[in-house]
Symmetry: C2
Subunit: 109 residues, 2 copies
């Protein structure tokens, strides 16, 4: 199952950040609300670090209402462009896999 997240997880993160800015821990929680996207900090923090390095997100430290300071992440224009490009690829990929599985559906019914 984790193999399916490969290549797609980073864009799920970018898609969340397209809505609003999040801090790291929040992203883990938000993604994990869906079983299919269940992930952990050990995955998200290195991923966010790479996205920042690639210029797809930018960060900002802020104090927290209670507890340690939080690192907020925001999409950059490059990140938004990467996300748009991924959408096209994802649609094509999804339709391809759906097409193969649908023909199976017909057989099992």
């Amino acid at each position: 199952m984790s193999q399916m997240r490969r290549g797609a997880l980073e864009y799920c993160v970018l898609a969340l950040l397209a809505r609003r800015e999040y801090y790291g821990f929040e992203l883990v929680q938000e993604l994990s609300r869906v079983d299919a996207l269940l992930t952990s900090e050990g995955t998200i923090y290195p991923l966010l670090s790479r996205l920042r390095r690639e210029g797809l997100v930018e960060t900002e430290w802020r104090t927290s209402p209670a507890g340690p300071p939080r690192k907020y992440y925001r999409l950059t224009p490059a990140g938004r462009a990467a996300l748009a490009a991924f959408r096209q690829q994802w649609i094509a990929f999804r339709q391809a896999v759906d097409g193969l599985l649908d023909s199976l559906e017909g057989e099992t019914k």
Copy 2:
């Protein structure tokens, strides 16, 4: 792009074999008719070898009309079950990713 095929490619192969039996090279050609599933022998032969080892497919050598003999692959009951299980996971995963990207769609429109 190749990362998206991770975890899903093997089930695309199983889905093709659910329709009818194929020989190895044919599978490469059939998959590669769709850009999103473009792959190569270097990928498919090791994958088929693993599927056979895992008992999801079975093989049969046959002479060819012209050229070298062909190794035909067929789904086993275990393979069919694995495929059905994957379908559930794929649907959940696809909907999760679609959900994230759809909210993006709303924003860009």
